[in-house]
Assembly symmetry: C2
């Protein structure tokens, strides 16, 4: 059973020899070789350059040998392709303009052809595939409609999402129209990734946890369900990740996603009991654990793996993305524990 087979088997809730494993943001700033490739260019410059995007996608695989490569890209690529100005400002995060605050702004958004507007991502996937062969899985992704829409409405990262919720409650038709347009465009964007060779598609609902289950079900669910169904229609498993999802597990499972990505606040036994009989689970070590010394990382990672022993269909991951300042010795300790075999020599460089 190679890594790709192992990963796909877990998504389908079939037996695996060990849990497959990857890490959100594994191609990222905590790696010195990433910072080297990145130096002197903007974040979006990297995304648009399929050679460099493929290169940084491969970096963690070469160093640690995870079972899946997650393609280097960003959830704000679709809003840019829909006509918004998107910039990543160092130390501040993304800035999008002008913010979408009314029906006219929603109507002015463009639909895009994924091959024309975001072909660089297809190229990145093909280049990674050429290097990986069929040995490891490739994960493509997009943001969930609410998460993407919240950036479009707020114009930046937000702690409270007051403008987004203002539109949701005060002008629900316009908000629903925005979610529909984001979903419409995300479907083609995911299809392009599957066509280019992505084995699995993950939908990132980074901010969906800011809503109650009732509101999630009423306002977001139809769009997420549709996106999941479309992804599965492309012949690949769909993973739905929501950060802060302990109150949302049932509505997440109802979307039809093959795998639920859960954050570190969710108790594994409880997740297994609530939805483990109908979905595979992915997660959920606290990324801050990696700031602890290596022996603590080994202990906590082993504990996390143990907690999911009884789950049919389990993929190891962190509960959210790895943080930029994470010390490498702890990352190495994690992968030694989780992958259970000596790491490539490069791992500790």
């Amino acid at each position: 059973m190679n890594s790709r087979q192992r990963f796909l088997a877990a998504c389908r809730r079939e037996e695996t020899d060990r849990p497959p494993a990857w890490m959100m943001r594994q191609a990222g700033r905590y790696l010195p070789e990433y910072r080297e490739v990145r130096s002197g260019s903007t974040f979006l410059g990297m995304v648009h350059d399929s050679d460099r995007a493929a290169e940084v996608t491969m970096q963690p695989i070469r160093r640690y040998g995870q079972d899946a490569a997650v393609i280097f890209c960003d959830i704000l690529v679709p809003p840019a392709a829909m006509g918004m100005d998107v910039e990543f400002i160092e130390g501040q995060g993304p800035v999008l303009g002008p913010p979408i605050r009314n029906r006219e702004a929603v109507d002015r958004l463009q639909d895009f052809d994924a091959n024309d507007a975001t072909g660089f991502l297809g190229d990145s996937i093909r280049k990674v595939r050429a290097e990986l062969g069929d040995e490891r899985a490739i994960i493509g992704f997009c943001g969930a409609p609410f998460t993407v829409a919240s950036y479009m409405v707020e114009g930046q990262s937000s702690r409270n999402f007051e403008n987004t919720k203002q539109m949701m409650l005060g002008d629900p038709e316009t908000f629903d129209r925005l979610l529909t347009r984001v979903t419409d465009n995300s479907v083609g964007y995911l299809k392009m990734q599957a066509d280019a060779g992505a084995d699995v598609l993950q939908i990132f609902d980074s901010w969906g946890g800011a809503l109650s289950a009732e509101v999630y079900r009423e306002r977001l669910f139809p769009h997420v369900q549709r996106l999941v169904a479309e992804a599965k229609g492309f012949g690949v498993p769909a993973i739905l990740y929501v950060n802060g999802c302990s109150h949302l597990l049932e509505v997440m499972a109802d979307t039809g996603a093959d795998v639920l990505g859960i954050d570190w606040r969710v108790n594994p036994a409880e997740a297994i009991a609530r939805v483990g009989d109908r979905v595979a689970l992915q997660g959920n070590l606290d990324p801050c654990t990696l700031f602890a010394p290596p022996d603590v990382v080994r202990r906590e990672a082993a504990k996390n793996l143990d907690a999911f022993t009884d789950q049919r269909g389990y993929i190891f991951n962190l509960g959210s993305g790895i943080l930029p300042k994470t010390p490498l010795e702890s990352v190495a300790a994690l992968w030694e524990t989780v992958l259970g075999s000596p790491l490539p020599e490069a791992a500790t460089a």
Copy 2:
């Protein structure tokens, strides 16, 4: 039944004629009269000046007539009294220095006598009492040990708490010592508030929701439980508020708190089913609801009240603090709905 009786009855899970109501951060920047008193002085300058602190504490009561006044203060007053530099920087939030990162720094912290070091808060409470008489309840408060400690370790607001969790996992004895010292000092600080006339004490665990229930129980619970027990020992009910607490309700109830403050992501029926037979509940309208038009605010507030009809012991509140840019017409619509009587004339000024 006056407001104070109504509030205390709800805390004790006794019958009330209607649910008592207040709002976290009700003395705050969304009120023009607050901004007027505030103008030209620092946030901490206001806290230290018991005349102005009492004045802004009274402002929302005069305008809307809530059942309880929450004393104007800040959860970072104790760290300052323990010897840290604490500053509030406009548009950025609190900055504390130097950050507490090791055992030596924990040991250098000072214990403080609450009357000597924070007597201004006792003065504020007495001045508010003089104005309110026994008509309305006065709520005193402190931060929960983890929330306060996380500010002391990070030195500022944090999204991920990596330094705090690094200490918690990498040097658990030092972290526990820090929690103990914060708790030690919080006990005297709460006692001083009860002695000055606070009817109820709320413990704000703004960031406790960043931990799993297992970690909360293992690392924080003994300290929170002790603080709750001490507060109750002063003869007043204790409210434990945790933001993002849907996974923590049972451990919160186990602390012995009389009332649990819950955020808007918690489903009311579920909270009632899980812990409503042993604690009163407080919450939980999404503060972003107040950015919607008044008719939507009325509908959502009524829905929220309805959801708690079956709960013995219920206090209306938002699920977290009111936001600075909240429109006043929506705040008036909320209080009309919740207090169920014509507002004072000042309400819509």
